[in-house]
Amino acid sequence: MMTGLDAILPTLNGGLQGYLVVALLLFAIGLAAVLLRRTLLMQFMGVELMLNAANVALLAFARFRGGDSQAMVFYLFIIAVAACEAAVGLALVIGLYRHRDTTDSDRAASLKQ
């Protein structure tokens, strides 16, 4: 259990828990960007941040399980999916900007033209 800062700081410094805390905070910041910002491109960057947080957690677990190379394969697949998501997502943002002249997700709330 938590017994003050003196007990936490040594585990933070390069331990498994330290990497997981960084991953969790990165995920929280990405989620906050998606929820709080209205510009689609900012929300998109928030999603990228959340994907990166998942990668940090995945590779941290791989290192503490003795350098498992399966995790690298999954990391490659995550990167491939992130690249696809970037291409299609940005194409959709450009399409929205052409039709509505905005990149604000609040202004694109109706399905009708």
Binding site: V22, A28, M45, V73, A83, A87, V88, A91, T102
Partner: protein, 164 residues
């Protein structure tokens, strides 16, 4: 070293969240990705660090910055409706999630055991090991990923082209 890269990552991400200008926010994202690449080096995984820099900062963020500059809308537009309640609610939810999850990480005995068991630094990940695992056990997944990339490319062209 860990604290340095962790701070680079988290402060850059925080700067991205709070920045009004989208281009500057994109550059903060590049900083965050470099911090994550540093963390990967500390995790004995130079392959992942190189891929992180090549794919995320070299390809994805360049694409995003390219679109930002093309669209010519660098500042966040004025809110149509303020939605103050939703904003405060989402801040509260994100903060509760972060604090709860961090508490859980420190309270978990399983994680503590794993951290002690795997404390010895493993051999650094090499491209050879990754390639052997990828092509021995995951050939089908590799092919599907290639197909997915092709489909995304065709989809992006179809979505942005004015008239096919």
């Amino acid at each position: 070293m860990f604290i340095t890269f962790a701070l680079i990552t988290l402060l850059s991400a925080l700067g991205m969240l709070l920045q009004k200008n989208i281009i500057v926010a994109g550059l903060f994202m590049v900083g965050a990705f470099f911090g994550v690449a540093g963390l990967f080096v500390l995790l004995a995984n130079p392959v992942a660090a190189a891929l992180q820099i090549i794919v995320y900062t070299g390809a994805i963020m360049v694409l995003v910055l390219f679109v930002i500059m093309m669209l010519n809308s660098h500042e966040e537009e004025k809110a149509q409706s303020p939605r103050a309640i939703q904003r405060w609610l989402s801040i509260a939810v994100v903060a509760a999630l972060a604090v709860g999850a961090v508490k859980l990480v420190f309270a978990s005995p399983g994680l503590k055991a794993l951290a002690i068991r795997g404390a010895a630094m493993p051999e650094a990940m090499t491209l050879q090991k990754v390639g052997l695992t990828l092509f021995a056990d995951h050939v089908l997944g590799f092919e599907v990923a290639g197909l997915l990339l092709l489909a995304a490319m065709i989809g992006a062209v179809a979505l942005t082209k004015r008239n096919l």
